[in-house]
């Protein structure tokens, strides 16, 4: 077995703490491999009972159709409540403003929608699939991460977490982000998916797709992505390493159409996962700045 079992027991234990310590926790579900892993862990944590959390999907409107199809299939399969927060509603109501230009993305707008959904549904905890190995600001994240009424993260004033003790006590209005797979790496997640034989959206596997090449990166052609007149569309065999918003998720040239070959490619690859996400390249501290302002 390639997957470190200890991490599964740890994650299940964190999920049970979340269920026990909070009144209305929910799982943030993006349709990506990390949130699919969370759902599997929740199934295991509460079996034979039902998962005591609804799924929350923050829908930018710029999704890969394959991801939405997968989401709806999974929701039906495990019979779980799904709450969708539409970014478009916040744009229409003037609470969020669409970005302009070549690199426009709705990724940062998700924060507004997430905070609205938290408030509307009176959620006191949101379980997310973030991992500390993804990015340097996340390396300092707690497992129970307390956010104020505005969803803000106070990096310098975090509660210490010692041994396996998780302290989820909060004041009214505050809420907690819970990260059960904090200690997993990208490879751990892939090995887990393989060993558990979990279904994942098809865009994780190599397929033919129309892309444009910009800044040495392949961008999936869609209605949501800005394209210069001189940028040419080409057809390539690609796969995606994350399934974020279509406007900020780059494709990788790949021949890997099975889990085994995808994992082999990851092992061989020298670009880390977030290197394919445009949103982090905007500034060196991009991730930390977004976390401070309430991003997940």
């Amino acid at each position: 077995k390639k997957f470190p079992e200890d991490l599964e027991h740890e994650a299940i234990s964190i999920m049970r703490e979340a269920a026990a310590q909070f009144e209305r926790p929910a799982i943030l579900f993006s349709g990506g491999k990390d949130s699919i892993t969370l759902v599997r862990l929740a199934e295991k944590a509460f079996y034979p009972g039902k998962i005591p959390f609804p799924l929350i999907h923050i829908d930018t409107g710029h999704n890969f159709p394959e991801t939405i199809e997968f989401r709806d299939w999974l929701v039906k399969k495990i019979n779980i409540e799904l709450i969708v927060g539409y970014v478009q509603e916040d744009i229409d109501a003037g609470r969020a403003t669409e970005e302009k230009g070549k690199y426009a993305s709705r990724n940062t707008l998700q924060t507004t929608t997430l905070l609205r959904i938290i408030e509307e549904n009176k959620l006191d905890a949101c379980l997310g699939g973030a991992r500390r190995d993804e990015e340097k600001a996340r390396a300092k994240e707690r497992i129970f991460s307390v956010r104020d009424e505005f969803g803000q993260w106070d990096a310098k004033n975090q509660r210490p977490e010692l041994f396996d003790y998780l302290n989820g006590r909060i004041k009214p209005g505050e809420n907690v982000r819970v990260f059960p797979i904090s200690n997993w790496t990208e490879l751990d997640v892939w090995n887990y998916i393989r060993e558990e034989e979990l279904a994942i959206p098809s865009i994780y596997f190599a397929h033919e797709r129309e892309v444009i090449e910009r800044d040495n990166v392949l961008w999936p052609v869609s209605d949501f992505i800005y394209r210069d007149a001189n940028e040419v569309v080409v057809k390539k065999k690609v796969r995606f390493r994350t399934v974020g918003d279509m406007s900020c998720t780059a494709a990788l040239p790949s021949e890997a159409d099975k889990l085994d070959t995808v994992i082999d490619e990851i092992l061989a690859s020298v670009i880390s996962e977030r290197g394919t996400r445009l949103d982090d390249k905007r500034a060196e501290a991009a991730m930390e700045l977004r976390k401070v302002s309430g991003y997940f």
């Binding site: 740890e10 269920a19 340097k136 600001a137 010692l162 003790y165 790496t185």
Partner: protein, 426 residues
């Protein structure tokens, strides 16, 4: 695959970042884009070389001030082991971060600069490793290239360190009464050069006089948690699963993580603190039925009788229970900026049980670097103290020395909700 948790500590400039960077580099754990990001950041800061410390110093404030102020987590793996490093800064004002980082560690790596030898901070780092009963301590005497790779200076540092370690073992935390060295702590002192890679992943050719294994080989072969299964069973109930659906109408399962021991189907158990008795009728992990559960496993336990069990209770075999305690002797570290208030009631969390508690007496505060003891009336952030505690509810807490997995607790402030102290029971 096994997981080994490592905590690292060292004074500024001892080469901790270089050492971690070297381990990552030699195990192919740094990706090209991360290296490039570090290159760009190094250039912006106007330094000519690759500053590997940028790999671990994540937060903006830290990058601006050039110091590490929190605990960072670093991951790498080799063929059959996954490693998690928690890296905390070494200054006295970050004692609490060091304790946080070390609380889950199987191994503690302490760095010493070969030119400077054992410093005040080295004492503190070892004091904490001893307080937390970390079973393996590796002391890396770094920058050996700067002392000509010579055995003499190394042996001198080794002796100074081991002498001080002995002194801490006999008059440091917890041992005054017990009068014994911590059980099963194994100390290795080794000469390395992080910059050149000597004795990190390969044996040093320049130091043929040193016969020990390189650091990575030691990390790969250390046995982890081998004794937990042999301890008495400690199973704190986290959550009660009651599906109340057609197929599982009367199902009542107690979900929790085994802290220690082996719990078997058929075991007569006692529910603590209530004292009710029953028998384990079934143990499961998801849809798999198990004959026994062992330490660190998150399982579901069912009992033969419909006894009252809820979160905060412990399940233990009748012959493995310990005396319940409401009064404790403990060593605590104060973690909060707001000092300890003698009259105040705090919440003590141990296992999944939460009880109101009071610190009734401060026996003494001990300075880790000098072992000097004082008896203040209050505690400030980073103080390590021997205290008496009184809890409102009876606790099934073990002596930390005998069973680490069930001997620690935290204190929470009811008003701010902050975790204000961590303690280990004697």
């Amino acid at each position: 695959m096994e997981v080994l948790r490592i905590s690292t500590a060292g004074s500024v400039d001892d080469g901790k970042s270089t050492l971690i960077g070297r381990l990552l580099y030699e195990t192919n754990s740094i990706t090209v884009d991360k290296l490039e990001a570090i290159e760009r950041a190094s250039q912006r800061k106007g330094i000519g070389f690759l500053d590997l410390s940028l790999l671990t110093d994540g937060l903006i404030a830290e990058r601006e001030q050039g110091i590490t102020i929190d605990v960072a987590h670093i991951y790498f793996h080799t063929r059959n082991r996954k490693f998690i490093i928690t890296d905390a800064p070494g200054h006295v004002e970050y004692t609490r971060n060091m304790i946080t980082g070390a609380s889950k560690a199987d191994v503690s790596i302490i760095l010493i600069d070969a030119r400077k030898g054992v410093l005040e901070q080295t004492h503190r780092h070892y004091f904490i490793s001893n307080l937390l009963r970390i079973s393996k301590v590796i002391v890396c005497v770094n920058k050996m290239d700067l002392v000509g790779f010579e055995e003499g200076p190394f042996r001198e540092i080794e002796k100074t360190f081991l002498d001080f370690a002995k002194e801490i073992q006999s008059s440091g935390p917890a041992s005054a009464e017990a009068g014994s060295a911590p059980a099963r702590q194994d100390i290795t002192v080794m000469p390395v050069s992080s910059l050149l890679g000597d004795n990190i992943t390969r044996k040093s050719e320049s130091m043929a006089w040193f016969k020990g294994e390189p650091l990575l080989a030691i990390l790969e072969s250390i046995q982890v948690n081998t004794d937990l299964d042999r301890k008495p069973v400690r199973f704190p109930v986290q959550y009660v699963i009651r599906p109340r659906n057609e197929s599982h109408h009367d199902f009542r399962g107690y979900a929790g993580r085994m802290l220690s021991g082996r719990l078997r189907v058929g075991d007569e158990v006692i529910v603590q603190p209530s004292g009710r008795k029953s028998k384990v009728s079934r143990i499961s992990f998801f849809d798999k039925e198990l004959q026994e559960a062992t330490a660190k496993e998150s399982v579901v336990v069912e009992l033969a009788d419909n006894v009252d069990v809820s979160r905060g209770d412990w399940l233990v075999p009748v012959d493995q229970s310990a005396a319940l305690r409401t009064e404790l002797e403990a060593n605590i570290c104060w973690l909060n900026a707001e000092p300890f208030n003698a009259g105040k009631v705090y919440l003590l969390q141990q296992g999944t049980s939460i009880s109101k508690a009071k610190v009734t007496q401060i026996n003494y505060v001990q300075v880790p670097s000098t072992l000097e003891k004082t008896t203040p009336t209050s505690l400030k952030m980073n103080d390590i103290a021997s205290v008496k505690i009184k809890a409102a509810k009876p606790l099934l807490i073990d002596n930390f020395d005998e069973n680490k997995s069930n001997g620690a607790f935290i204190l929470v402030d009811e008003y701010s909700n902050n975790t204000v102290a961590v303690g280990v029971a004697l």
